[in-house]
Amino acid sequence: MIKKQFTSNARRARNIIWNAAGDYDFEPPFMAFFPNGAPDHYYNMIIGLVRKWLDIDRIGRFFDSYTSDRRSDEFDEFLWLGLENCVYEKELVERPVMERLRRQRAEQFYIEQANMSRQQMEYQSMPVYTQQQARWAAVLGKHLPVMSPREKRMHEALCFAGDLDTDGLLQAMSEFLMTFFKYEVPRGAVSHPKRGGLLKSLRGGHRRKDHFLVRTGTGEGDHPKAVTLTHDGLGKFVPPTQEDEDYIRAVFGKSTLPESETEILNIDICTGADANCRVWVTKGEEPDAAYRDAADIIARRRHQRELNEKFCADNRAAVRSAVKSLSSGMETVFESYLKHLPEPSRAGRLAPEKVYRMPVLNDSKVFTKDGEETEREVFIDILLDASQSRMNSQEVISAEALIAAKSFAALNVPVRVSAFRSLRGHTVLEILKDAGDDDCRGICGYYAGGWNRDSLAIRLIEHLDDDPHMAGKQRIVLIMTDANPNDSVPVAEAGHLLTKEYDGAVAVSATEDAVRMLRSKGIMVGAVFHGNSSHMGDLHQIYGHSCVRIRKPSQLSQGLCDLMLMLMSRR
């Protein structure tokens, strides 16, 4: 719950920042929280306003330049006091409510201080505390605290003027640190950065404090030890070998397809952007813990299964209620959009073959109308992105997939759940629940790790069409994704010596082609999106309008119903 709480507060903080900045296409490099974890509304607005009025990337770079100094936390808090004054003055004319919000923040400061424990006070930096006290006392028109001449000068210096631009502000910040702390900021931190440098440094530095301003990483790493996979660079690629296949077999279990069929698939679908890759379809049967370093991963998978099962058990009531609500919503969707079976009626379409009944038998039911019964001739494939980026939400994703599968199963709609990830050049599709399985517990075997080559996984699912429950039915593929495909196997371009990394626009475009191909075969494709706002553009490029965004499990029911409604209405 703590993690969930943090995530929800972090999202709220982001929203306040984005709103103040008037821009939702960036990942805030800072967020502000109170000690109890609630977002600090005023300071998050200030962060957003820094983005609005100044070059936040350069300012972030400045903050990053002293992270190795032991006083960096103090520097952060001093400089944010300065920034607060600067952007407050800039924004006040356009947003008069700032004055009131600033006063409320000042009052909040005193409330926080009154509630602070002795231990917390001991951890508090006194120079910072004095400056904060001076700032908020001034805002409320109170007497300033007793300050030494140096502290008074510091207080005045931290009132960065509202007419400063980014250069002027960086200069002021730099002078402040030099004057009061004899700290010389590296020249590069004040001058214009080289392109791309900042992003890298922000992502690299992920640290978190219990209160006040928190530096964030990519926005995906709000979990300790979060891992982001990175590309090693071009030119090192070696096609998958037999050893890689042995490893995949040992870790994920034997292939459900005969060797010859896997070979045909490799030839048929590992083409174009997915050339040099291989596919592996498994049900996780017979993994081999004795194989080299497979034992560790197998143990971790087992542990994750236990965590997933525990999460579902701990939230049994919520899962049951979600299944109920989703299946009833889905029933409405099916009833609305699937073909209604006709039933006799007293008004509607005239049924000529029954007309004689009116004069002869005095039966007025010679019309037909759409009856309440519908045919449910659909087959659902739920495809889960099981890459490393999903690592922080494995329990939630497996619970969501379980809810979806149980809901469809409750309506007698055959559903198959599979997870995909790419490792060592192999895109592994792991079938967690087959359409014929009544038991949905296999879904708790969901485990995130590796890359995600979405384009190949989507091509692969099209070929898994030999399930007996699929005969004569409309196939629907629902993908739970973060719309951020990437893989270590680069894209080989015919006629080009150089290869391109499989990520960014290249990977998105390849996935878009795969989705288009699936649709051209009459398969409906929709996406349930769990990712960052920065990938929304990619999401729409790949799936068009056939997607919904889910921010938390409670939105799953409505989101899936909306998505199914969209898909069914296009039939």
Partner: protein
Amino acid sequence: MEGLFDFLREEGVEPRLLEGVKAFREAHPVADEYKNRIPVPEYFYYGNETWELALAALLAGKNLLLAGPKATGKNVLAENLAALFGCPTWDVSFHVNADAASLIGTDTYNGNEVVFRPGPVWMCAKVGGFGILDEINMAKNEALAVLHAALDFRRSIDVPGYDRIELQDGTRFIATMNYGYAGTRELNEALTSRFAVLNMPLIKDEDLVKLIARRYPDIDMKICGQLAKLYKELEKKAESAEISDSALDLRGLLDAIALMDQGILSGAALEMCIVNKTFDDYERKLIRDVIAARIPDDLTRDAVFGK
């Protein structure tokens, strides 16, 4: 309807188009029994470019499809157009089970005789009114196929076994369709090609200020500006899919001002008319944050209306 004509003149709508509308009204008088179907708009649509395009299309005899996300004023414009042209309207709200019978008419029986009961589209065609086809993309495409002949050059409706009628000269159809992040569905090509499609722009900041000020002439203009900005910020949040568009409700904003006019404090009024439009607790928090960043929650009637 001089008020609407005056408003459009003030907005700078091309006078030649307005003359065209007057000529249309004179050429298509409305029978007394249908006069109660001519709408009297409560709000005027702002955006003279959109007005000009819509007027030109209707004067040229085309049907109009107003497409755009929620709260772009599709229905307000449709109602304003019918009022300006002085035409009776038949509103049809489409839903997933709308079928040909609910549009054209249905078979029923009278004693031992099967008879035809006319539907709204049939009536509209016969009287020469404006058919407002609301949320047309909610219906299944096969249900809409019956409209093809009515909407294209044939301008007729043929009901097998009954009659074929020609559309009155003044008959026009204005359809609306919503699309946004969540998307509803796309209209099929055959139907879309029978409409002039007008992509409804989001209301501009200055037009929103004018809209509020016209409805509430006493409002303090600074507060009016902040309320307009608040709406635009919610619009941006919905566009970014951080909140659903439930709270993005222009009517809700105007209703909130109406409540403030009745003496309710700003916080409570906005809570009731905007925040509570969404039933997701977390989403409500996000919306409250946006409101708090613009409007103090204790503004009194005197503060809002400058009295």
